[in-house]
Amino acid sequence: MKPPLWALGLLLAAATTGGAAQATEGGPGAGLDSLLTLMAQRRHGEADFSETKYLSMLKQPLESSGLLIYDAPDHLEQRTSTPRPQSVVLDHGIVTLQIGQRRRVLRLADYPQLAPLIDSIRAILAGDRAALERAFELDFSGTLAHWQLRLQPRDAQLAATLKRIDMQGEGDAVREVQVQQSDGDRSVMRITPRE
C-alpha cells in the first residue's frame, strides 16, 4: 500500500525536530535503535579518558587517565598514561595487556562469565545490539542528543560479579561509563572525544 502523503510529512517533521520525538513516539526500543544505528556509522574515534576506581580492599581510590582509540567494529584500545603507562588492546576477542615489561594475552572466549563486561564498550560503539542483548537487559532513556543506557546482566554468573553498567552520552559520543560491581566496588570513567 502506498503511504498517504500526510504520513510522509509527519515523518519528515519528526526527523527535523530531533531525537526527543523519536524516543517518545517511536515506542520502546526505537530510541536505542536510533542510537545504535548512529553508533554503527562511526568507523574511527579517539577520546581522552579519566577513570576512578573505588575498591574496598584499597584505602583510597585508584585514579588513572589516558587515551581511548576505537576502530570499527572489533578494535578498542585503552592507553593509560598516568599514573604509569600501560595499554590494553581488545582486538577480535583477544585482550592484550602490556604492563611495564610484562605482556599478557587473554581470550575473551576463555572467560565467558566476564567477557560481556569487557566487551560492553566495544559493543555499544559498534552498535552491536546482538552482543549487548545476549548478555544484558537494556534500558534506554533520554533523547538521542542526551541519552542514558543501563545494562543489567541476564546471566546469574555475570550478575555475581557485576551489578550494572550505566552509560551516558551525546549523539554518537559516549561521555561516561559507570561500572557497579556486586560486591560494592565501582568505577567511573569520563570520556572526552578528541575532534
Partner: protein
C-alpha cells in the same frame, strides 16, 4: 607305486603339513618394525615406540565444514558430548570453556607448588610489596576484574604466573566458543584414542564411532531445525591423523591387492588354459607355486619368529618366478612324465632350471645379511620358496601327473619366434645392444644425483592432498606433531622430572637467545617433589606472613585485612602434600602427562617437544645439543624424528644397494664356475644387465626417483631373467635343435605370465606396489628380448 615315488610324495606332504602348522601358528606383524634395524640404538628404539604408541599416533584430528559458525559449534559440542561418553576415547577436546575452567581451578588450587616464582624472597616484606604492587596495577586495568576475584586469595599473582608459563603454546582460534581454523571456516576437535596407533582395528573402530556420532548430531540438528529445513546448509566431516592414514592405507592395499591379484590371476589362468587346453594341467602347474609360498612363509616364521606383512605382500611376487618352472616342464617336455624316465634332454632341462634357481638364490641371499628385518625376510622367503617350488616341480609334479595328460603342441609358436629372431643378424644386434648400454649408462650417470629417493615419504601410501589437509589442521590446532624432541631417560619418575627441570632451565636460555620459541615439559604441571617441597618451604607460617603482609601493605594503599583468605590458604598450602600424578586426573594435564612421561622396562622417559622459533622452519639441533651437552651425559637425547626416520631409510637403501651389488658378484661367480667359460657367463649376464640398465634409465628419463622397491624389482629382473638367458645358453651347449621351438615357446609363455602379473601391479595406486610392477614387467620382457637377440644364431636356426 615305486618306492622313490612314494618317498618323494610323502616327503612333500610332510613338508606341506609341517609348513602349514608353522604358518598357522606364526606371529604376524604389520607395524613399522619391518623398517627398523634389528639391533636398534636407543634413539631408534624410542623412535619406533613413539611412532607405534606415542601420543601423536593416538590423535585423530576432526574438522567440521559447511553451514555457519554457530551451527558448526553446535555440532562440535554434540560430537564432543557423544564421544566423551565412549570408553574408546581417552579425551576429546574442542576448546569449550568447561574443560578450561577445570584446568584453571587446578592451577589455582596448586599455585604454590606450580609457580616458579615461589621463592623465600618473594614472601619477604619487599618481595610481597613488589608482587602485590604488580598485581594491583593489573587490577586497575580494564581487564582487572579477571584478577580481582583472585586477588584476595592470591595477591602475589601466582595463578597468573603459572598461566603465563603455560601459555607458551600457540592456542587455536575460537569461534562461537569452540576451536576453529585460522580462517574461521572449519570447527576443529582433537580426539585421543585409548588404543595405540599401531592397533589398526581399534583405530578403524574409533573412526567409525566418530562418523556415527557426526551423523547422529546431524539428525539432531535436522530435528531441531525442522521448521526451516535446509536453512543450515550441508555439513561435512573431515578426519585426519596417523590412525586415519593407517586404516585407509590398509584398506587401499587390501582392496588393491585383491582387485589386482584377481585381475592378474584371471589373465594368467586364461592364458595358461589357452596354452595347456587342460584344466587339470593348469591346477598341477599351480602346485609348485602354492607349495613354494607356504614353505617360504614357514621358513620366515621359523627364522625370524615373526612374519612382517610386507614380506607376505611382496613375497607373493615369487609366483612370478615359480610358475615358470612348471611352464618349462610342461611345454618343453610336452609332458612331465618324461622327466621321471630321466632321458638326456630332460636332465639337461633340469640342469638349466637348477642353475636358474641357484642364480636367483644368489641374488636374494644378498638380502639376508641386511640389518633390516623386512629385507632379510624377503630374502629368506624368496630363497626357500624358490627352492621348494623347483623341487616340487622336479620331484613331485612328474609323479602326480596322470597318464594321458596332454598340453597343446606349441612348436609352431616357437618356430615363428625363432624365424623372427633369426632375421636380425647377431653383429647388428650386438652393436645395437652395446650402443643401448652406453646410452643407458650415460643417462644414469647424468642423473645419478637424483636417481634414488631417500625420503621415507616416497613409500607412504598417503596422498599429497591428505598430507596437506593434515598439515593444515595440525597447524591450526597446534597439535603435537612428531618433530624435534629432547628425551630424558632416568631410573625413576622423580629423577626424570628433576632432569626435565634441569633441561628446562637450559631451554629457557635458548628461548631467550631466540633458538627456539618454546617447549613443553611434564615438570611444568608436575614439578619434581624436591622442587615442590622447596617452593612450599618458601611459604612463611600464617602469623609471620600476616606480619610481613601488614608491613608490605603500609607502602601501598592496600587494606591488609581484605587479604585474610590469602593468609589462610598460603598457610594451608605450606602443610599440604606435594602434587602427584593422580592429582592431575580430570584435567587436560593428565593427557599431557601420559604423553610426555612414561616408563618401560624399568626406565623412565620424559619428552620435551620443542617449538621452532617464529619464522624458522627448523630448529638448530647443534645449538640445542651444545646447550644440553653438560647435563647428565647419556641420559639426555636431542632428536628430530623425521630426520631420524629419513636417515634410517637412506641408510638401509644404501645398504640394500651394496648388498645387491654383492649379490650380482655372487651370481657372476656362480655362472663362471657352473659354465666353466667366461664367454658363456658373459653371454648370460649381458642381457640381464642390459635390461636392468634400460629400466633404470627409463625411470631416470621419466623423472621417477628410485626407491627400495625398484631395487627389489631389479633383483627380480635378474632372478627371473637369468632363467631365460640360461636356456639360450643351453641351446648353445647341447645343440639339440629339435627342441628349440619348444624352448622358445615356453619362455614366451613364462614371460607373458610374468609381464601380466607385474604389469597389472604397475597400475596400483599404492606406490610400493606400482614401483615393483613398473620395474619387473618391462624388465623381464627386455631380459627375454635381449637374451634372444644376443643368442648365437647357430642355435636359433631350426633343424
Amino acid at each position: 607305486m615305486t618306492r622313490t615315488r612314494l618317498a618323494s610324495l610323502s616327503l612333500w606332504l610332510a613338508l606341506l603339513g609341517l609348513s602349514g602348522l608353522v604358518v598357522a601358528r606364526a606371529r604376524y606383524s604389520a607395524d613399522l618394525s619391518a623398517f627398523l634395524p634389528r639391533s636398534p640404538s636407543a634413539t631408534q628404539q624410542l623412535l619406533v615406540q613413539q611412532l607405534r604408541d606415542g601420543l601423536a599416533s593416538r590423535l585423530i584430528l576432526i574438522g567440521i565444514e559447511g553451514a555457519d559458525g554457530a551451527t558448526r559449534a553446535q555440532v562440535s559440542h554434540a560430537l564432543a558430548v557423544n564421544l566423551r561418553a565412549r570408553p574408546e576415547f581417552v579425551s576429546l577436546s574442542n576448546g569449550e570453556a568447561a574443560s578450561q575452567e577445570r584446568d584453571r581451578e587446578f592451577i589455582f588450587q596448586h599455585r604454590y607448588e606450580l609457580s616458579a616464582a615461589v621463592t623465600p624472597e618473594r614472601f619477604s616484606v619487599d618481595g610481597l610489596r613488589a608482587a602485590i604492587a604488580d598485581n594491583l596495577e593489573f587490577m586497575a586495568s580494564p581487564a582487572g576484574l579477571l584478577a580481582k576475584s583472585l586477588f584476595v586469595s592470591d595477591p602475589t599473582g601466582e595463578t597468573l604466573q603459572v598461566m603465563d608459563e603455560f601459555q607458551g603454546a600457540a592456542q587455536p582460534r575460537r569461534d562461537h566458543g569452540v576451536w576453529s581454523s585460522g580462517d574461521g571456516a572449519r570447527a576443529l576437535l582433537i580426539a585421543q584414542t585409548r588404543a595405540v596407533g599401531s592397533d589398526t582395528d581399534a583405530q578403524a573402530q574409533a573412526l567409525a564411532l566418530i562418523r556415527a556420532a557426526f551423523a547422529a548430531s546431524l539428525r539432531e540438528l535436522d530435528t531441531a531445525t525442522a521448521a526451516t529445513p535446509g536453512a543450515t546448509g550441508p555439513l561435512h566431516l573431515l578426519l585426519s591423523g596417523p590412525a586415519l592414514f593407517s586404516v585407509e592405507a590398509r584398506a587401499t592395499i587390501e582392496h588393491e591387492a585383491l582387485r589386482l591379484s584377481l585381475l592378474s590371476t584371471t589373465l594368467i589362468v586364461t592364458l595358461l588354459l589357452l596354452v595347456y587346453r587342460s584344466l587339470p594341467t593348469l591346477l598341477f602347474g599351480l602346485l609348485p607355486v602354492a607349495s613354494g609360498a607356504l614353505v617360504g612363509v614357514a621358513a620366515v616364521a621359523l627364522g625370524f619368529g615373526v612374519v612382517h606383512g610386507i614380506t607376505l605382500g611382496f613375497g607373493v611376487t615369487l609366483i612370478g618366478e615359480s610358475v615358470d618352472y612348471s611352464i618349462y616342464l610342461f611345454v618343453q617336455s610336452r609332458l612331465g612324465r618324461a622327466a621321471a624316465r630321466g632321458d638326456a634332454a630332460v636332465r639337461s632341462l633340469w640342469r638349466t632350471i637348477g642353475l636358474g634357481v641357484l642364480t636367483s638364490v644368489c641374488g636374494f641371499a644378498s638380502l639376508l645379511p641386511s640389518s633390516f628385518p623386512g629385507l632379510a625376510q624377503l630374502g629368506l622367503y624368496s630363497i626357500s620358496g624358490l627352492i621348494a617350488a623347483a623341487a616340487v616341480t622336479r620331484f613331485v609334479l612328474p609323479q602326480l601327473l596322470p597318464v594321458g595328460l596332454r598340453v597343446a603342441d606349441l612348436t609352431p609358436l616357437g618356430a615363428a619366434a625363432a624365424r623372427l629372431i633369426a632375421r636380425v643378424r647377431l653383429p647388428a644386434a650386438a652393436s645395437a645392444a652395446a650402443g643401448l648400454a652406453l646410452l643407458c649408462a650415460l643417462v644414469l650417470l647424468h642423473g645419478r644425483e637424483r636417481l634414488w629417493n631417500r625420503d621415507l615419504s616416497a613409500l607412504s601410501p598417503v596422498s599429497p592432498a591428505a598430507q596437506a589437509l593434515d598439515a593444515n589442521m595440525r597447524a591450526d590446532l597446534g597439535a603435537p606433531d612428531i618433530g624435534t624432541l629432547v628425551v630424558v631417560n632416568a631410573d625413576s619418575e622423580q629423577a626424570a622430572l628433576q632432569l626435565s627441570e634441569a633441561v628446562g632451565g637450559r631451554l629457557d636460555a635458548l628461548i631467550g637467545a631466540g633458538v627456539i620459541a618454546g617447549y613443553d615439559s611434564t615438570a611444568r604441571f608436575l614439578p619434581s617433589q624436591a622442587t615442590q617441597s622447596a617452593r612450599l618451604a618458601s611459604l612463611p607460617a600464617e602469623a609471620p606472613l600476616g606480619a610481613r603482609l601488614s608491613a608490605a601493605a603500609a607502602g601501598l594503599a592496600l587494606r591488609p585485612e581484605a587479604l585474610q583468605p590469602f593468609l589462610q590458604q598460603a598457610a594451608a598450602a605450606r602443610l599440604a602434600a606435594p602434587l602427584n600424578r593422580a592429582d592431575l586426573d580430570g584435567t587436560s594435564f593428565a593427557l599431557a602427562a601420559d604423553a610426555l612421561l612414561w616408563h618401560r622396562d624399568g626406565t623412565w622417559h620424559a619428552l620435551l617437544p620443542l617449538r621452532a622459533a617464529a619464522g624458522a622452519d627448523n630448529i638448530d639441533l647443534v645449538r640445542v645439543r651444545a646447550a644440553l651437552a653438560t647435563l647428565a651425559p647419556g641420559q639426555v637425547l636431542v632428536m628430530n624424528i623425521n630426520q631420524e626416520l629419513d636417515a634410517l631409510y637412506a641408510s638401509y637403501l644404501t645398504e640394500a644397494v651394496h648388498l645387491s651389488l654383492a649379490g650380482l658378484g655372487a651370481i657372476v661367480l656362480l655362472l663362471l664356475i657352473a659354465l666353466r667359460s667366461p664367454a658363456r657367463a658373459a653371454r648370460v649376464i649381458a642381457p640381464l644387465l642390459l635390461a636392468v640398465l634400460a629400466v633404470g634409465a627409463g625411470f631416470a628419463l621419466a623423472g621417477t626417483r628410485l626407491t627400495i622397491l625398484h631395487l627389489i624389482g631389479m633383483l627380480l629382473i635378474v632372478a627371473v631373467g637369468s632363467n631365460y638367458a640360461l636356456f639360450f645358453d643351453r641351446r648353445a651347449a647341447d645343440s639339440d635343435r629339435a627342441a628349440l621351438p619348444l624352448t622358445l615357446a615356453s619362455l614366451l609363455i613364462a614371460n607373458a605370465c610374468t609381464v601380466i602379473g607385474f604389469g597389472v601391479l604397475a597400475f596400483a595406486r599404492v606406490p610400493v606396489l606400482s614401483a615393483l610392477g613398473a620395474t619387473v614387467a618391462p624388465g623381464t620382457l627386455l631380459a627375454l628380448l635381449f637374451a634372444a637377440l644376443l643368442a648365437p644364431r647357430s642355435v636359433l636356426a631350426p633343424a
